[in-house]
Protein backbone atom coordinates (compact mmCIF):
# COMPACT_ATOMS: atom_id res chain seq x y z
CA UNK A 1 0.00 0.00 0.00
CA UNK A 2 1.61 3.22 -1.08
CA UNK A 3 1.61 6.46 0.85
CA UNK A 4 -1.39 7.97 -0.94
CA UNK A 5 -3.52 4.93 -0.24
CA UNK A 6 -2.62 5.10 3.42
CA UNK A 7 -3.57 8.75 3.58
CA UNK A 8 -6.89 8.06 1.88
CA UNK A 9 -7.58 5.19 4.27
CA UNK A 10 -6.87 7.33 7.33
CA UNK A 11 -9.03 10.14 5.95
CA UNK A 12 -11.88 7.74 5.22
CA UNK A 13 -11.75 6.22 8.73
CA UNK A 14 -11.57 9.69 10.28
CA UNK A 15 -14.62 10.72 8.27
CA UNK A 16 -16.51 7.68 9.55
CA UNK A 17 -15.57 8.51 13.14
CA UNK A 18 -16.58 12.15 12.76
CA UNK A 19 -19.84 11.16 11.13
CA UNK A 20 -20.91 8.89 13.99
CA UNK A 21 -23.49 10.32 16.36
CA UNK A 22 -22.88 10.64 20.05
CA UNK A 23 -25.35 8.90 22.29
CA UNK A 24 -25.32 8.51 26.05
CA UNK A 25 -28.61 6.74 26.68
CA UNK A 26 -31.14 4.36 25.23
CA UNK A 27 -33.71 6.68 23.73
CA UNK A 28 -36.12 3.80 23.19
CA UNK A 29 -36.33 2.99 26.89
CA UNK A 30 -35.25 -0.20 28.54
CA UNK A 31 -38.52 -1.81 29.56
CA UNK A 32 -40.23 -2.43 32.88
CA UNK A 33 -38.22 -4.66 35.19
CA UNK A 34 -36.87 -5.00 38.68
CA UNK A 35 -33.91 -2.64 38.61
CA UNK A 36 -31.51 -1.03 41.06
CA UNK A 37 -30.97 2.71 41.01
CA UNK A 38 -27.58 1.98 39.45
CA UNK A 39 -29.50 1.36 36.25
CA UNK A 40 -30.88 4.85 36.22
CA UNK A 41 -27.47 6.26 36.87
CA UNK A 42 -25.33 4.18 34.59
CA UNK A 43 -26.75 1.37 32.57
CA UNK A 44 -28.27 3.61 29.94
CA UNK A 45 -25.12 5.60 29.48
CA UNK A 46 -22.17 7.06 31.30
CA UNK A 47 -23.40 8.12 34.75
CA UNK A 48 -20.96 11.02 34.72
CA UNK A 49 -22.80 12.49 31.74
CA UNK A 50 -26.19 12.58 33.49
CA UNK A 51 -27.85 15.94 34.07
CA UNK A 52 -30.09 16.47 37.08
CA UNK A 53 -33.76 16.22 36.22
CA UNK A 54 -35.86 19.19 37.34
CA UNK A 55 -38.89 16.98 37.93
CA UNK A 56 -40.48 17.06 41.39
CA UNK A 57 -41.17 13.63 42.84
CA UNK A 58 -43.67 13.02 45.64
CA UNK A 59 -44.49 9.68 47.24
CA UNK A 60 -47.72 9.02 49.13
CA UNK A 61 -49.45 6.09 50.79
CA UNK A 62 -52.50 5.36 52.98
CA UNK A 63 -52.14 6.57 56.54
CA UNK A 64 -52.23 3.08 57.99
CA UNK A 65 -50.19 0.22 56.59
CA UNK A 66 -50.26 -3.28 58.03
CA UNK A 67 -47.56 -5.89 57.63
CA UNK A 68 -48.69 -8.65 55.29
CA UNK A 69 -51.52 -6.60 53.80
CA UNK A 70 -51.12 -4.97 50.36
CA UNK A 71 -51.02 -1.22 50.27
CA UNK A 72 -50.54 1.34 47.51
CA UNK A 73 -47.58 3.66 47.14
CA UNK A 74 -48.22 6.44 44.65
CA UNK A 75 -45.54 8.53 43.00
CA UNK A 76 -46.57 11.86 41.57
CA UNK A 77 -44.10 13.50 39.20
CA UNK A 78 -44.51 17.13 38.22
CA UNK A 79 -42.52 19.70 36.27
CA UNK A 80 -41.55 17.11 33.66
CA UNK A 81 -39.48 18.17 30.68
CA UNK A 82 -38.90 15.12 28.50
CA UNK A 83 -37.21 14.26 25.24
CA UNK A 84 -39.06 14.14 21.95
CA UNK A 85 -39.84 10.45 22.50
CA UNK A 86 -41.67 11.28 25.75
CA UNK A 87 -40.31 8.15 27.45
CA UNK A 88 -39.76 8.44 31.19
CA UNK A 89 -38.77 5.78 33.71
CA UNK A 90 -39.67 5.72 37.42
CA UNK A 91 -38.01 3.73 40.19
CA UNK A 92 -39.40 2.76 43.57
CA UNK A 93 -36.40 2.22 45.85
CA UNK A 94 -35.64 1.57 49.48
CA UNK A 95 -32.26 3.28 49.62
CA UNK A 96 -30.01 5.31 47.36
CA UNK A 97 -26.80 3.31 47.46
CA UNK A 98 -27.30 2.23 43.87
CA UNK A 99 -27.39 -1.50 44.49
CA UNK A 100 -29.59 -3.91 46.46
CA UNK A 101 -32.03 -1.05 46.82
CA UNK A 102 -35.26 -2.48 45.45
CA UNK A 103 -38.32 -2.96 47.71
CA UNK A 104 -37.66 -6.71 47.56
CA UNK A 105 -34.26 -6.10 49.17
CA UNK A 106 -36.02 -4.43 52.10
CA UNK A 107 -38.62 -7.18 52.52
CA UNK A 108 -41.42 -5.63 50.45
CA UNK A 109 -43.04 -7.46 47.55
CA UNK A 110 -44.27 -5.51 44.55
CA UNK A 111 -47.59 -7.20 43.76
CA UNK A 112 -48.76 -4.92 41.01
CA UNK A 113 -48.02 -1.60 39.37
CA UNK A 114 -49.84 0.75 37.10
CA UNK A 115 -48.41 -0.77 33.91
CA UNK A 116 -49.88 -4.13 34.84
CA UNK A 117 -46.65 -5.85 35.84
CA UNK A 118 -44.93 -6.29 39.18
CA UNK A 119 -41.72 -4.29 38.71
CA UNK A 120 -40.17 -1.56 40.81
CA UNK A 121 -39.10 0.21 37.60
CA UNK A 122 -41.83 1.27 35.16
CA UNK A 123 -41.74 3.32 32.02
CA UNK A 124 -44.34 5.61 30.55
CA UNK A 125 -44.59 7.38 27.22
CA UNK A 126 -46.15 10.79 27.64
CA UNK A 127 -47.29 13.39 25.14
CA UNK A 128 -44.88 16.29 24.82
CA UNK A 129 -47.38 18.69 26.37
CA UNK A 130 -47.84 16.60 29.54
CA UNK A 131 -45.74 17.78 32.46
CA UNK A 132 -47.29 15.72 35.21
CA UNK A 133 -47.98 12.04 35.76
CA UNK A 134 -48.33 9.46 38.48
CA UNK A 135 -47.35 5.84 39.00
CA UNK A 136 -48.66 3.49 41.65
CA UNK A 137 -47.23 0.31 43.09
CA UNK A 138 -49.15 -2.19 45.22
CA UNK A 139 -46.66 -3.45 47.76
CA UNK A 140 -46.76 -5.75 50.76
CA UNK A 141 -44.38 -5.90 53.68
CA UNK A 142 -43.38 -9.24 55.06
CA UNK A 143 -42.65 -7.86 58.54
CA UNK A 144 -43.47 -5.01 60.84
CA UNK A 145 -41.24 -1.96 61.05
CA UNK A 146 -40.27 1.31 59.45
CA UNK A 147 -39.02 1.50 55.86
CA UNK A 148 -37.78 4.50 53.92
CA UNK A 149 -38.94 4.62 50.31
CA UNK A 150 -37.29 6.71 47.63
CA UNK A 151 -38.39 7.49 44.11
CA UNK A 152 -36.12 8.13 41.16
CA UNK A 153 -36.71 9.29 37.63
CA UNK A 154 -34.71 9.19 34.45
CA UNK A 155 -35.53 10.47 31.01
CA UNK A 156 -34.00 12.12 27.97
CA UNK A 157 -34.00 15.68 26.75
CA UNK A 158 -31.63 18.11 25.03
CA UNK A 159 -29.53 15.18 23.76
CA UNK A 160 -28.56 14.29 27.33
CA UNK A 161 -29.82 11.82 29.91
CA UNK A 162 -31.49 13.27 32.99
CA UNK A 163 -31.72 11.61 36.37
CA UNK A 164 -33.03 12.54 39.83
CA UNK A 165 -33.81 10.79 43.09
CA UNK A 166 -35.73 12.02 46.10
CA UNK A 167 -33.31 13.40 48.65
CA UNK A 168 -35.20 12.24 51.73
CA UNK A 169 -36.92 8.96 52.34
CA UNK A 170 -40.66 8.59 52.58
CA UNK A 171 -41.23 6.74 55.85
CA UNK A 172 -43.76 3.91 55.84
CA UNK A 173 -44.43 2.01 59.03
CA UNK A 174 -45.85 -1.48 58.65
CA UNK A 175 -47.89 -2.13 61.78
CA UNK A 176 -49.04 -5.32 63.38
CA UNK A 177 -52.33 -6.57 61.96
CA UNK A 178 -55.25 -6.06 64.36
CA UNK A 179 -57.06 -9.16 65.55
CA UNK A 180 -59.82 -10.38 63.21
CA UNK A 181 -59.10 -7.75 60.58
CA UNK A 182 -60.66 -8.98 57.32
CA UNK A 183 -57.81 -9.26 54.84
CA UNK A 184 -56.39 -11.02 51.86
CA UNK A 185 -54.42 -14.14 52.68
CA UNK A 186 -50.76 -13.51 53.41
CA UNK A 187 -49.64 -15.55 50.40
CA UNK A 188 -52.25 -14.14 48.02
CA UNK A 189 -50.74 -12.97 44.75
CA UNK A 190 -53.10 -11.09 42.47
CA UNK A 191 -53.56 -12.24 38.91
CA UNK A 192 -51.95 -9.62 36.67
CA UNK A 193 -52.83 -10.85 33.17
CA UNK A 194 -55.72 -12.53 31.39
CA UNK A 195 -56.43 -13.57 27.82
CA UNK A 196 -58.76 -11.82 25.39
CA UNK A 197 -62.36 -12.79 24.65
CA UNK A 198 -62.79 -14.93 27.75
CA UNK A 199 -64.47 -13.83 31.01
CA UNK A 200 -62.02 -13.94 33.88
CA UNK A 201 -62.61 -15.85 37.09
CA UNK A 202 -60.61 -13.99 39.73
CA UNK A 203 -59.74 -16.19 42.66
CA UNK A 204 -59.33 -14.57 46.09
CA UNK A 205 -58.04 -16.12 49.28
CA UNK A 206 -58.91 -14.21 52.44
CA UNK A 207 -58.69 -14.41 56.22
CA UNK A 208 -61.28 -13.42 58.82
CA UNK A 209 -63.65 -12.47 56.01
CA UNK A 210 -67.36 -13.22 55.86
CA UNK A 211 -68.30 -11.46 52.63
CA UNK A 212 -66.49 -9.93 49.68
CA UNK A 213 -67.41 -7.35 47.09
CA UNK A 214 -65.25 -6.84 44.03
CA UNK A 215 -65.22 -3.59 42.09
CA UNK A 216 -63.49 -2.95 38.78
CA UNK A 217 -63.00 -0.04 36.43
CA UNK A 218 -61.32 0.77 33.16
CA UNK A 219 -59.33 3.95 32.78
CA UNK A 220 -61.66 6.91 32.81
CA UNK A 221 -64.72 4.69 33.30
CA UNK A 222 -67.21 4.24 36.12
CA UNK A 223 -66.67 1.76 38.95
CA UNK A 224 -68.55 -1.49 38.27
CA UNK A 225 -69.37 -4.39 40.58
CA UNK A 226 -68.43 -7.96 39.79
CA UNK A 227 -70.39 -11.02 40.77
CA UNK A 228 -68.67 -12.80 43.66
CA UNK A 229 -69.28 -16.41 44.70
CA UNK A 230 -67.88 -18.26 47.66
CA UNK A 231 -65.90 -21.31 46.58
CA UNK A 232 -65.00 -22.52 50.07
CA UNK A 233 -63.92 -21.27 53.45
CA UNK A 234 -62.32 -17.85 52.83
CA UNK A 235 -62.16 -18.68 49.13
CA UNK A 236 -63.93 -16.42 46.67
CA UNK A 237 -64.38 -16.18 42.96
CA UNK A 238 -65.26 -12.97 41.10
CA UNK A 239 -66.25 -12.84 37.45
CA UNK A 240 -64.82 -10.02 35.34
CA UNK A 241 -66.32 -9.58 31.84
CA UNK A 242 -64.21 -10.53 28.83
CA UNK A 243 -61.90 -7.99 27.24
CA UNK A 244 -62.24 -7.58 23.49
CA UNK A 245 -58.89 -5.86 22.97
CA UNK A 246 -55.59 -5.66 24.86
CA UNK A 247 -56.41 -3.20 27.61
CA UNK A 248 -55.96 -2.93 31.35
CA UNK A 249 -58.54 -2.66 34.08
CA UNK A 250 -58.22 -2.22 37.80
CA UNK A 251 -60.04 -4.12 40.46
CA UNK A 252 -60.24 -4.09 44.21
CA UNK A 253 -62.01 -6.10 46.90
CA UNK A 254 -64.01 -4.83 49.86
CA UNK A 255 -63.70 -7.31 52.69
CA UNK A 256 -66.21 -7.57 55.53
CA UNK A 257 -65.99 -9.60 58.71
CA UNK A 258 -65.99 -9.20 62.48
CA UNK A 259 -63.29 -6.57 62.30
CA UNK A 260 -63.48 -3.20 60.55
CA UNK A 261 -64.27 -3.28 56.83
CA UNK A 262 -61.17 -3.28 54.63
CA UNK A 263 -60.70 -2.16 51.04
CA UNK A 264 -57.75 -3.55 49.11
CA UNK A 265 -55.64 -1.40 46.79
CA UNK A 266 -56.52 -1.25 43.10
CA UNK A 267 -54.87 -4.16 41.35
CA UNK A 268 -54.13 -3.92 37.64
CA UNK A 269 -55.31 -6.69 35.33
CA UNK A 270 -54.02 -6.60 31.76
CA UNK A 271 -55.73 -8.39 28.90
CA UNK A 272 -53.38 -10.02 26.41
CA UNK A 273 -53.74 -12.24 23.41
CA UNK A 274 -53.67 -15.92 24.25
CA UNK A 275 -50.16 -17.22 24.75
CA UNK A 276 -48.49 -18.87 21.82
CA UNK A 277 -47.87 -22.58 22.32
CA UNK A 278 -46.01 -25.20 20.39
CA UNK A 279 -44.98 -28.78 20.97
CA UNK A 280 -41.40 -28.29 22.11
CA UNK A 281 -40.29 -31.87 21.44
CA UNK A 282 -41.25 -31.50 17.77
CA UNK A 283 -39.33 -28.22 17.59
CA UNK A 284 -36.16 -29.66 19.10
CA UNK A 285 -36.40 -32.78 16.96
CA UNK A 286 -36.80 -30.71 13.80
CA UNK A 287 -33.94 -28.42 14.83
CA UNK A 288 -31.54 -31.34 15.31
CA UNK A 289 -32.88 -32.94 12.15
CA UNK A 290 -31.98 -29.73 10.27
CA UNK A 291 -28.51 -29.73 11.81
CA UNK A 292 -27.67 -33.34 10.90
CA UNK A 293 -29.42 -33.24 7.53
CA UNK A 294 -27.55 -30.13 6.40
CA UNK A 295 -24.19 -31.20 7.80
CA UNK A 296 -24.64 -34.69 6.33
CA UNK A 297 -25.70 -33.33 2.94
CA UNK A 298 -22.67 -31.04 2.79
CA UNK A 299 -20.31 -33.88 3.69
CA UNK A 300 -21.91 -36.30 1.27
CA UNK A 301 -21.81 -33.76 -1.53
CA UNK A 302 -18.21 -32.73 -0.95
CA UNK A 303 -17.05 -36.32 -0.57
CA UNK A 304 -18.57 -37.06 -3.99
CA UNK A 305 -17.22 -33.95 -5.67
CA UNK A 306 -13.73 -34.06 -4.20
CA UNK A 307 -11.32 -35.51 -6.81
CA UNK A 308 -9.97 -38.96 -6.01
CA UNK A 309 -6.41 -39.81 -6.97
CA UNK A 310 -6.25 -42.21 -9.97
CA UNK A 311 -5.27 -45.52 -8.44
CA UNK A 312 -5.85 -49.25 -8.75
CA UNK A 313 -6.40 -51.36 -5.69
CA UNK A 314 -3.82 -53.83 -7.12
CA UNK A 315 -1.27 -51.15 -7.83
CA UNK A 316 0.89 -50.71 -4.77
CA UNK A 317 4.08 -49.78 -6.49
CA UNK A 318 4.01 -46.41 -4.77
CA UNK A 319 3.94 -48.08 -1.41
CA UNK A 320 6.43 -50.89 -2.16
CA UNK A 321 9.63 -48.91 -2.65
CA UNK A 322 8.78 -46.85 0.38
CA UNK A 323 8.40 -49.98 2.49
CA UNK A 324 11.53 -51.53 1.06
CA UNK A 325 13.45 -48.37 1.83
CA UNK A 326 12.10 -48.34 5.34
CA UNK A 327 12.96 -52.01 5.84
CA UNK A 328 16.44 -51.59 4.41
CA UNK A 329 17.01 -48.65 6.73
CA UNK A 330 15.61 -50.47 9.72
CA UNK A 331 17.55 -53.60 8.98
CA UNK A 332 20.79 -52.16 7.74
CA UNK A 333 21.42 -49.61 10.44
CA UNK A 334 21.34 -52.05 13.37
CA UNK A 335 23.31 -54.60 11.40
CA UNK A 336 26.09 -52.17 10.76
CA UNK A 337 26.11 -50.94 14.25
CA UNK A 338 25.97 -54.49 15.69
CA UNK A 339 28.75 -55.66 13.41
CA UNK A 340 30.88 -52.73 14.37
CA UNK A 341 30.24 -53.41 18.01
CA UNK A 342 30.91 -57.16 17.56
CA UNK A 343 34.23 -56.86 15.65
CA UNK A 344 37.05 -57.19 18.09
CA UNK A 345 39.49 -54.28 18.34
CA UNK A 346 42.71 -54.85 16.45
CA UNK A 347 45.83 -55.45 18.48
CA UNK A 348 48.46 -52.69 18.61
CA UNK A 349 50.54 -54.33 15.91
CA UNK A 350 47.68 -54.72 13.50
CA UNK A 351 46.32 -57.95 12.15
CA UNK A 352 48.12 -61.06 13.40
CA UNK A 353 50.40 -62.69 10.90
CA UNK A 354 48.50 -64.76 8.39
CA UNK A 355 45.08 -63.27 9.25
CA UNK A 356 42.98 -61.39 6.84
CA UNK A 357 40.24 -58.90 7.72
CA UNK A 358 37.42 -61.33 7.18
CA UNK A 359 38.97 -63.84 9.55
CA UNK A 360 39.47 -61.12 12.14
CA UNK A 361 35.87 -60.06 11.76
CA UNK A 362 34.60 -63.49 12.75
CA UNK A 363 37.37 -64.87 15.01
CA UNK A 364 39.03 -61.77 16.41
CA UNK A 365 37.37 -62.20 19.83
CA UNK A 366 38.64 -65.76 20.07
CA UNK A 367 42.17 -64.61 19.16
CA UNK A 368 42.09 -62.01 21.92
CA UNK A 369 40.77 -64.69 24.32
CA UNK A 370 43.90 -66.72 23.57
CA UNK A 371 42.23 -69.51 21.68
CA UNK A 372 44.50 -68.96 18.67
CA UNK A 373 47.71 -68.16 20.52
CA UNK A 374 46.89 -64.51 20.94
CA UNK A 375 45.72 -62.77 24.07
CA UNK A 376 44.98 -59.36 25.45
CA UNK A 377 48.27 -59.10 27.16
Amino acid sequence: MNFNHRVYTVLFLSLLLIGSTYGAAEPGGNGDATRDMQCGGACHGDAALNETSLATLTLSSPSTVYAGIPTTLTLTATNLSLSSTGIVGFFLLTDTTGHSDTPKDAGWDVLSESNGGASNYVEQTLPSSQTETSVSWVVRSSSEGMTSFYAAIHHGGSSKPFFAVTSTGYEVEAKEIPENLPRLAADFTPQSTRILDVPTELGLQTEFTESVQVEWKVEGGAIMSAQVNSSGDNMWSATIPAALQPTSLQWRAILQGDGPEQTTPWFTLTAEEAGWEIEEFAVYLQAFSLLFLIAGAVLALQSRLAPLPVSSKYDQTDLLPQRLDEESIVESVPQESSEESEIAPLPAGGLPNGWNEDQWKWYGHDYLAGKYGGGQE
Binding site: I278, S289, G296, S311
Partner: protein, 191 residues
Protein backbone atom coordinates in the same frame (compact mmCIF):
# COMPACT_ATOMS: atom_id res chain seq x y z
CA UNK B 1 -21.95 -14.32 38.27
CA UNK B 2 -23.47 -12.56 35.31
CA UNK B 3 -27.08 -13.04 34.33
CA UNK B 4 -28.05 -15.34 31.50
CA UNK B 5 -29.20 -12.29 29.52
CA UNK B 6 -25.74 -10.73 29.69
CA UNK B 7 -24.08 -14.04 28.91
CA UNK B 8 -26.38 -14.42 25.93
CA UNK B 9 -25.42 -10.97 24.65
CA UNK B 10 -21.71 -11.78 25.03
CA UNK B 11 -21.92 -15.18 23.36
CA UNK B 12 -24.18 -13.84 20.59
CA UNK B 13 -21.76 -11.05 19.80
CA UNK B 14 -18.93 -13.57 19.61
CA UNK B 15 -20.94 -15.81 17.29
CA UNK B 16 -22.13 -13.01 15.02
CA UNK B 17 -18.70 -11.40 14.88
CA UNK B 18 -16.92 -14.65 14.13
CA UNK B 19 -19.42 -15.77 11.51
CA UNK B 20 -19.40 -12.35 9.84
CA UNK B 21 -15.63 -12.44 9.39
CA UNK B 22 -15.88 -16.03 8.26
CA UNK B 23 -18.56 -15.18 5.72
CA UNK B 24 -16.54 -12.30 4.34
CA UNK B 25 -13.48 -14.53 4.05
CA UNK B 26 -15.48 -17.25 2.28
CA UNK B 27 -16.68 -14.63 -0.18
CA UNK B 28 -13.08 -13.68 -0.91
CA UNK B 29 -12.15 -17.36 -1.18
CA UNK B 30 -14.91 -17.84 -3.73
CA UNK B 31 -13.81 -14.84 -5.77
CA UNK B 32 -10.18 -15.97 -5.61
CA UNK B 33 -10.86 -19.56 -6.63
CA UNK B 34 -13.14 -18.51 -9.44
CA UNK B 35 -10.35 -16.20 -10.60
CA UNK B 36 -12.55 -13.13 -10.28
CA UNK B 37 -9.85 -11.81 -7.96
CA UNK B 38 -6.44 -12.64 -9.31
CA UNK B 39 -4.39 -12.65 -6.13
CA UNK B 40 -3.14 -16.17 -5.69
CA UNK B 41 -1.10 -15.28 -2.61
CA UNK B 42 -4.27 -14.23 -0.79
CA UNK B 43 -5.77 -17.71 -0.99
CA UNK B 44 -4.06 -19.26 2.06
CA UNK B 45 -4.77 -16.16 4.14
CA UNK B 46 -8.52 -16.12 3.49
CA UNK B 47 -8.66 -19.91 3.71
CA UNK B 48 -7.15 -19.78 7.21
CA UNK B 49 -9.20 -16.83 8.41
CA UNK B 50 -12.47 -18.29 7.11
CA UNK B 51 -11.99 -21.62 8.83
CA UNK B 52 -10.51 -20.38 12.10
CA UNK B 53 -13.30 -17.86 12.62
CA UNK B 54 -15.84 -20.47 11.57
CA UNK B 55 -14.48 -22.87 14.18
CA UNK B 56 -14.55 -20.15 16.81
CA UNK B 57 -18.11 -19.17 15.97
CA UNK B 58 -19.12 -22.80 15.95
CA UNK B 59 -17.65 -23.29 19.42
CA UNK B 60 -19.55 -20.27 20.77
CA UNK B 61 -22.88 -21.16 19.14
CA UNK B 62 -24.08 -23.76 21.68
CA UNK B 63 -23.49 -21.25 24.47
CA UNK B 64 -25.50 -18.64 22.59
CA UNK B 65 -28.36 -21.07 21.95
CA UNK B 66 -28.54 -22.37 25.53
CA UNK B 67 -28.20 -18.95 27.17
CA UNK B 68 -30.81 -17.62 24.75
CA UNK B 69 -33.28 -20.27 25.82
CA UNK B 70 -32.70 -19.62 29.51
CA UNK B 71 -32.82 -15.83 29.17
CA UNK B 72 -35.97 -15.56 27.07
CA UNK B 73 -38.92 -14.12 28.98
CA UNK B 74 -41.56 -16.61 30.07
CA UNK B 75 -41.08 -20.32 29.92
CA UNK B 76 -39.76 -22.27 26.97
CA UNK B 77 -40.47 -21.52 23.35
CA UNK B 78 -43.38 -19.14 23.74
CA UNK B 79 -42.92 -17.14 20.56
CA UNK B 80 -42.68 -18.12 16.88
CA UNK B 81 -39.61 -15.90 16.59
CA UNK B 82 -37.80 -18.00 19.19
CA UNK B 83 -38.66 -21.17 17.28
CA UNK B 84 -37.40 -19.67 14.04
CA UNK B 85 -34.24 -18.55 15.83
CA UNK B 86 -33.72 -22.12 16.98
CA UNK B 87 -34.19 -23.48 13.45
CA UNK B 88 -31.92 -20.86 11.88
CA UNK B 89 -29.13 -21.31 14.40
CA UNK B 90 -29.22 -25.10 14.08
CA UNK B 91 -29.24 -24.83 10.28
CA UNK B 92 -26.27 -22.47 10.53
CA UNK B 93 -24.49 -24.93 12.79
CA UNK B 94 -25.22 -27.71 10.28
CA UNK B 95 -23.67 -25.71 7.43
CA UNK B 96 -20.69 -24.76 9.60
CA UNK B 97 -20.08 -28.33 10.75
CA UNK B 98 -20.28 -29.55 7.15
CA UNK B 99 -17.79 -26.94 5.99
CA UNK B 100 -15.44 -27.53 8.89
CA UNK B 101 -15.35 -31.32 8.54
CA UNK B 102 -14.98 -31.07 4.76
CA UNK B 103 -11.97 -28.80 5.09
CA UNK B 104 -10.50 -30.94 7.87
CA UNK B 105 -10.84 -34.31 6.16
CA UNK B 106 -10.35 -33.28 2.54
CA UNK B 107 -7.68 -30.70 3.25
CA UNK B 108 -6.73 -28.82 0.07
CA UNK B 109 -8.97 -31.03 -2.05
CA UNK B 110 -11.90 -28.71 -1.31
CA UNK B 111 -10.11 -26.15 -3.49
CA UNK B 112 -9.15 -28.70 -6.15
CA UNK B 113 -11.88 -27.84 -8.65
CA UNK B 114 -14.06 -24.81 -9.14
CA UNK B 115 -17.09 -26.99 -8.33
CA UNK B 116 -15.81 -28.09 -4.90
CA UNK B 117 -14.58 -24.60 -4.14
CA UNK B 118 -17.95 -23.12 -5.06
CA UNK B 119 -19.84 -25.65 -2.95
CA UNK B 120 -17.47 -25.11 -0.03
CA UNK B 121 -17.65 -21.31 -0.12
CA UNK B 122 -21.39 -21.26 -0.72
CA UNK B 123 -21.90 -23.51 2.28
CA UNK B 124 -19.71 -21.26 4.39
CA UNK B 125 -21.69 -18.24 3.26
CA UNK B 126 -24.93 -20.09 4.06
CA UNK B 127 -23.64 -20.71 7.60
CA UNK B 128 -22.86 -17.02 7.94
CA UNK B 129 -26.23 -16.00 6.49
CA UNK B 130 -28.14 -18.32 8.82
CA UNK B 131 -26.38 -16.89 11.85
CA UNK B 132 -26.98 -13.30 10.77
CA UNK B 133 -30.66 -14.10 10.21
CA UNK B 134 -30.74 -15.61 13.70
CA UNK B 135 -29.32 -12.42 15.15
CA UNK B 136 -31.81 -10.38 13.15
CA UNK B 137 -34.66 -12.46 14.52
CA UNK B 138 -33.29 -11.82 18.00
CA UNK B 139 -33.39 -8.08 17.36
CA UNK B 140 -36.97 -8.35 16.12
CA UNK B 141 -37.91 -10.35 19.20
CA UNK B 142 -36.32 -7.97 21.70
CA UNK B 143 -36.76 -4.56 20.12
CA UNK B 144 -39.43 -5.18 17.50
CA UNK B 145 -37.11 -4.06 14.73
CA UNK B 146 -34.02 -5.21 12.92
CA UNK B 147 -31.84 -4.14 10.01
CA UNK B 148 -33.14 -7.07 7.95
CA UNK B 149 -36.76 -5.97 8.39
CA UNK B 150 -36.48 -4.54 4.89
CA UNK B 151 -36.68 -8.13 3.67
CA UNK B 152 -40.03 -8.62 5.47
CA UNK B 153 -39.03 -12.06 6.65
CA UNK B 154 -41.94 -14.13 8.02
CA UNK B 155 -40.62 -14.60 11.55
CA UNK B 156 -44.17 -14.95 12.86
CA UNK B 157 -44.80 -18.09 10.83
CA UNK B 158 -43.35 -21.43 11.89
CA UNK B 159 -42.93 -24.32 9.49
CA UNK B 160 -43.13 -27.28 11.83
CA UNK B 161 -43.04 -30.76 10.37
CA UNK B 162 -44.76 -33.73 11.96
CA UNK B 163 -42.56 -35.54 14.43
CA UNK B 164 -42.30 -38.59 12.15
CA UNK B 165 -40.96 -36.51 9.27
CA UNK B 166 -38.43 -34.84 11.55
CA UNK B 167 -37.41 -38.25 12.89
CA UNK B 168 -36.89 -39.59 9.38
CA UNK B 169 -34.96 -36.44 8.48
CA UNK B 170 -32.77 -36.92 11.54
CA UNK B 171 -32.05 -40.55 10.61
CA UNK B 172 -31.23 -39.60 7.02
CA UNK B 173 -29.03 -36.76 8.25
CA UNK B 174 -27.08 -39.04 10.57
CA UNK B 175 -26.77 -41.59 7.76
CA UNK B 176 -25.44 -38.99 5.33
CA UNK B 177 -23.06 -37.73 7.96
CA UNK B 178 -21.65 -41.20 8.59
CA UNK B 179 -21.41 -42.02 4.87
CA UNK B 180 -19.76 -38.70 4.09
CA UNK B 181 -17.35 -39.16 6.96
CA UNK B 182 -16.37 -42.69 5.89
CA UNK B 183 -15.93 -41.64 2.28
CA UNK B 184 -13.81 -38.67 3.28
CA UNK B 185 -11.71 -40.91 5.52
CA UNK B 186 -11.15 -43.22 2.56
CA UNK B 187 -10.08 -40.30 0.39
CA UNK B 188 -7.79 -38.85 3.03
CA UNK B 189 -6.20 -42.26 3.74
CA UNK B 190 -5.48 -42.75 0.00
CA UNK B 191 -3.90 -39.33 0.02
Amino acid sequence: MISSQTFHVVSTELVVGAFSVSGLSFLFCLLLHLDVLKKADWKPMFDNVAHFTLAFGLAATPFAVLSGLSSSPGEGLNSPILVNKMFLSMAGMGFAIGVFISRWRLSQSVWATSKTATVHCTTGLAACGSMLLTASAGGTFLRGESLLDVLSLPYDAVLLFPTVISGIGLAIGIGLLVLGWLRMNAISSVH
